[in-house]
Amino acid sequence: MDSDIRVELYRMMVLIRTYEEAILREYHADKQPVFDIGAGLVPGEMHLSAGQEPVAAGVCAHLGSGDAVTAPHRPHHVAIAHGVNLDAMTAEIFGRETGLGRGRGGHMHLFDPAAHFSCSGIIAEGMPAALGQAFAFQRRGTDRVAVAFAGEGAANQGAFHESLNLAALWKLPVVFVIEDNDWGISVPRSASTSVPSNGVRGAAYDIPGERVPDNSVEGVHQAAGRAVARARAGQGPSLIEVHTLRLWGHFEGDPQAYRDDLDGVPGRDPIPTYESTLTEAGLLDPERISKIHEDASVRVEQAISFAKDSPIPSGEQARDHVFAQEAHR
């Protein structure tokens, strides 16, 4: 695999982790001493993606800004990897007028039209929109693709099935990516389906399906490369499941008392693992590593500052934007 790409994958994973750590810090900063979900500069549910960076980095490395990406309630890693405007995304998470959605959406509802990025808090229901984006790309004769991310819990929702069937039928340029982090909140995968790999579900739609078993960013990158190429070539959708890792709680404030796998979790962190691999391969050294971390930190803190310095929306405008302004063309 190309060295630049490998370093780039690492750099992207570090940027994402740095971002999530900063959000974690900001989120909890003003919810002390007693955690109150609605308090602070960043209120509401917060689903962070630490541990799942390989999926976002590995898949989105194949995409350009003309390609569409849709993510679920846990969207930051995917948004960052797809190049969503980091300042505006952060401002949205802080509920500011400069945010992607002018503070109307929040962290589960990020829309960046420039990056054709969207996400949704309803499990699996973000997926069908990707079909429509792919449909538009197809009809316009482009080779652009749409990628729909969802968790392994989402694969048991009706929208998953309908989306795969329709995408396969119309040979839409879509890649379906299932992030299997073992859990749907407190429900382990074993209590949500009896199939060990969602890869096998590809056969139910006559499309390729495969599972990347080890949260390896390079494994993801390779699988996604095949799927994206297939979609660009007009051969239709593919399904990829990645066995990844939920490093933290389902959402912030999750006591995780139900979780029996916690002990093993830190040792499975994909970033140090990949760091060692690239170091052994001579592509990274301590200096380069700290430069990458530093750059990430600078970028992230700039976004956080941008957000914090941005104006808070005025309650008087709460009723705007229900309908598009120029109704008639």
């Binding site: 959605g101 002018r102 959406g105 429509g132 009706g158 934007h321 309908f323 302004q325 008639h328």
Partner: protein, 343 residues
């Protein structure tokens, strides 16, 4: 273009033909418009809403879908976000329960959640209504359900001319529009129909503004606010009552969202008496909303208690005797008007 043309016209179409003509004209004008749904192609729509479109525009723009409402409505949303203008048919409004999340959490909210940056110019067409013994899962109007949830406009034409004009306005609107057509006004050859299901329709494209009610008959004694098939029942009753010297003013709402409160208030202000005729379920719906729009301005506008003729909070029964007992029939409308006038 945005107002009903006043050009004289003699050509008469069914509501179904008027709808599909409106769609065809917009498809001709704008490459981005396409039609999608179950049986919209060769069949032409189970209730004729897409008749002839496949022949004219081919299978790349008139697409039959699998029975996967969540997927294909969602597909419409995604295509709209990318700038296309999909017209998506949900065969019966009764089926909303399999795909409502796409409709109300996505189609209706994306524009708002994006702070106005993403537009979803999509039309969701759907058939409503009973009266032909199709049972509890195929006879509902449910416009109250759609109108309650913010972010989508809701239009409900009662006649061919409005059907075409509202369709064109809906397609050109940059917000999502739910377009609910009653089977009983479509003028289908295989279903009993009101004679007004066929009527004059201008040939050229025109819009009927979304959010404007029509006073379809003037009268001084009582206001009846209604919509869809019930407009015709009410007009029949009004005609009959005028021979008894009673002046019934009939308002066809045409749009529920936005709701034309001013037209309702003007009329009630004049007549002082109000009957609401609504084929949807009575409670927590349209009829209550009309009551509130009056009572929050001036309850004393009403010289007598208002009356509601709606489905009395029961599922629509199958047997004709039972179904007719719960639908807003001419008999029930007459009785309600008489009741309001007697007080």
């Amino acid at each position: 273009m945005t107002a009903t043309t006043s050009a004289p016209t003699t050509r008469r179409l069914t509501t179904a033909r008027a709808m599909s003509e409106g769609i065809a004209q917009e498809m001709g004008r704008d490459e981005g418009v396409f039609v999608m749904g179950e049986d919209v192609g060769a069949y032409g729509g189970i209730f004729g809403s897409t008749g002839g479109l496949l022949e004219k525009f081919g299978a790349t723009r008139v697409l039959d879908t699998p029975i996967s409402e969540t997927a294909f409505i969602g597909l419409g949303i995604g295509a709209a976000v990318e700038g296309m203008r999909p017209i998506v048919e949900l065969m019966f409004a009764d089926f909303f329960g399999v795909c409502m999340d796409q409709i109300y959490n996505h189609m209706a909210k994306i524009h708002f959640e994006s702070g106005g940056k993403v537009r979803v110019p999509m039309v969701l067409t759907t058939a409503v209504g009973g009266g032909y013994s199709d049972g509890a899962q195929h006879s509902q109007c449910l416009w109250g359900t759609f109108a309650h949830l913010p972010g989508m406009k809701v239009v409900v034409p009662s006649n061919p001319a409005d059907a075409k004009g509202l369709m064109i306005s809906a397609i050109r609107d940059d917000s999502p529009v739910v377009y609910m057509f009653h089977k009983g006004v479509m003028g289908l050859p295989w279903m009993a129909k009101n004679p007004r299901a066929t009527g004059p329709v201008p040939e050229e494209p025109y819009g009927v503004p979304i959010g404007e009610a029509a006073v379809v008959r003037e009268g001084a004694d009582v206001t009846v606010v209604t919509l869809s098939l019930s407009v015709h029942h009410t007009l029949d009753v009004a005609e009959e009552m005028s021979s008894r010297g009673v002046g019934v003013e009939v308002i066809d709402l045409r749009s529920l969202v936005p709701l034309d409160t001013a037209t309702v208030l003007n009329s009630v202000h004049k007549t002082g008496r109000l009957v609401i005729v609504d084929e949807d379920y009575q409670s927590f719906g349209l009829s209550g909303e009309i009551a509130a729009r009056v009572a929050e301005v001036d309850p004393r506008m009403l010289r007598a208690p208002l009356a509601r003729v709606a489905v009395p909070d029961v599922p629509i029964p199958y047997a004709r005797t039972l179904e007719q007992a719960v639908l807003p029939t001419r008999e029930r409308i007459t009785a309600a008007i008489d009741g309001v006038l007697s007080q």
